[in-house]
């Protein structure tokens, strides 16, 4: 993650409004109010275009189907061709996601806020640690 002026920022693909707000100055945020699975699919689309996966799509221990939120970092620019390790990880993550049914169709607001906070900290741990290196 580079903060150098003029340097392209890595992309944060997220459906978490808290992460979208908090990391707006550190990433190129692409926020969409979609399902967790749809975020994984959007990330796969980027991987198909040649972007590299930077954070693990199954970050954290709250399962797909439990938390509705997911934030994933991908590289700013497409590389030379398809990054196969990235593709394998995102494909395996989608397979894993599909194993978990949606457990809580009705989540109270304060619990949603907690899920957002945990998802935010998972990315924060990655971002702040890497503020000066690739």
């Amino acid at each position: 993650m580079s903060l150098k002026e003029g340097a392209a920022l890595d992309k944060l693909i997220t459906n978490n409004p808290l992460a979208a707000k908090d990391f707006a100055d550190r990433c190129a945020v692409e926020y969409a109010d979609v399902s967790l699975r749809d975020i994984l699919v959007r990330v796969r689309d980027y991987v198909h275009k040649g972007h590299k996966l930077l954070t693990h799509p199954l970050s954290g221990s709250i399962k797909p189907g439990e938390t509705p939120y997911k934030s994933i970092l991908v590289s700013a620019a497409p590389g030379q061709g398809l990054d196969l390790p990235s593709l394998r990880i995102i494909e395996d993550s989608i397979v894993t996601c599909d194993k978990f049914p949606i457990k809580y169709p009705h989540i109270p607001e304060h619990v949603l806020a907690d899920f957002q906070e945990v998802d935010r900290t998972l990315i924060a741990g990655a971002l702040y640690k890497h503020s000066s290196s690739k």
């Binding site: 954290g60 221990s61 709250i62 399962k63 993550s93 989540i107 109270p108 907690d114 741990g125 640690k129």
Partner: protein, 426 residues
């Protein structure tokens, strides 16, 4: 490094006006413990309770379980770098209140983790149904952030365990065991005919309620490194993680790591327990690559013949696990991995989120998706408000007769990936 561990068997726990440990009975001064906890201004209130094996008691949501220990001789104190100054532990003598535990609960977030049932079917799946538990339920001051609450609760649990452990300082233990970890060259010279076996412990390190601390250092900030297994027995590694309770290592698990214990048992007989390596499980893929590279480098550097790798948690750590396994196999060292499975409720789905042909020796802690029905119990310590929002709970899973339907992942320690659990295919 040589550590004598004196085990004092605890046969009962009671509240009393005066704290003491007599004839195996642990007497807890409730007021003194309460006052100690409330010294932390972040905690508004604490309720202390006792839960004994066989009682009709459910504890939830569990945050950590900690075994009371005290350093009797030798440098440092228990939980170095956290409760005491940073000083290398793992030598001298330590007393353990075997059979006692501190259990912490509290509502850090609105979805919650961890059930310990002291009786019934649930008790079969958690090791902490067999311990005499001092349970603390914490309420924070208004407006405290989740991070500060987690930190306050974690420290309070450790302080309680230390205070109870102190009662065993002068008590003659029921059993004394000696654990000795030799310097690399000495070990090789002493056991030239035995295979050199190492232990790679992966530590969860990702964020709020997903962290582990080593001598107080947040493990996500560390490179892969080495530690003496005797240091772990003195509390060098503590748990700050409780999400997905079935396969998270509580501090109790670290203190009683069965991989370490079994390797020590076999040491000098069938193998030479040559080294212990600790590595992290970060969110960043570059970290995963770097840490697993480093693990393989250390294994090669130490010239190990075989390695046991234990995982912690679900999902992305599967990737760390496979990277570690693959890279260590690639330097010519055979591996056995310990994991658990999310194989669906019928057990037929792919168990891990990653795989490789080199992972050909696998020990599993069980299928965390397995569904169990836990009976209604007479007393709840903590709250059932969150039972349908714990990992493994379902919406409306609290049934009319008071029983609850959960996956094993809701039960503290049920599919532990150190093998500290009761599930078996035998």
């Amino acid at each position: 490094m040589k550590l004598e561990v004196g085990y004092i068997d605890i046969t009962d726990i009671q509240f009393s006006d005066k704290a003491s440990l007599q004839d195996g009975v642990l007497y807890v001064d409730r007021d003194a413990i309460t006052a100690m906890i409330l010294e932390d201004e972040r905690i508004r209130a604490v309720e202390l309770d006792i839960a004994k094996p066989g009682e009709s008691v459910r504890i939830t949501p569990v945050k950590d379980v900690i075994e009371p220990r005290v350093k009797v001789e030798g440098p440092g104190e228990i939980f170095p770098g956290v409760l005491s100054k940073v000083q290398t532990v793992g030598s001298g003598r330590t007393h353990v209140l075997r059979g006692a535990a501190v259990v912490t609960t509290g509502k850090i977030v609105g979805f919650q983790e961890g059930i310990i049932d002291m009786t019934g079917l649930g008790a079969e799946y958690t090791p902490f149904s067999k311990t005499f538990n001092l349970v603390a339920n914490f309420t924070p001051v208004d407006g405290l952030t989740a991070h500060d609450y987690e930190n306050a609760l974690r420290l309070a649990g450790l302080k309680m365990a230390k205070a109870l452990g102190e009662l065993g300082r002068e008590v003659e233990p029921n059993e004394v065991k000696t654990y000795e970890h030799l310097p690399v060259m000495q070990g090789a010279e002493k056991y030239p005919e035995l295979p050199r076996v190492g232990y790679v412990q992966m530590l969860q390190s990702q964020g709020l309620m997903h962290d582990t601390y080593v001598y107080g250092v947040d493990m996500k900030q560390s490179l892969t490194t080495m530690i003496s297994p005797t240091e772990v027995l003195d509390g060098a590694i503590i748990s700050g993680n409780c999400v997905s309770a079935c396969d998270k290592n509580t501090t109790y698990h670290h203190l009683n790591n069965p991989v370490i214990h079994d390797l020590f048992e076999a040491h000098g007989k069938t193998l030479n327990f040559a080294a212990m390596i600790i590595t992290n499980e970060n969110v960043y893929l570059a970290d995963k690559e770097r840490s697993s590279d480093w693990t393989a480098k250390l294994v090669e550097y130490l010239d190990l013949d075989g390695v046991i790798i234990s995982q912690e948690g679900f999902g992305n750590p599967d990737t760390d696990l496979i990277m570690n396994c693959k890279k260590i196999e690639a330097v010519g060292t055979r591996t056995v991995i310990i994991t658990d499975e999310y194989a669906g409720r019928d057990g037929t789905s792919q168990s891990l989120a990653d795989a490789d042909a080199s992972a050909d020796a696998v020990v599993t802690g069980g299928n965390a998706n397995q569904v169990v029905v836990l009976p209604k119990l007479d007393k709840v310590i903590g709250t059932l408000d969150y039972v349908d929002k714990i990992a493994g709970g379902f919406e409306n899973n609290l049934q009319e007769d008071g029983s609850i339907v959960v996956e094993l992942q809701a039960i503290t320690g049920a599919t532990n990936e150190l093998g500290f659990n009761r599930l078996s295919a035998r």
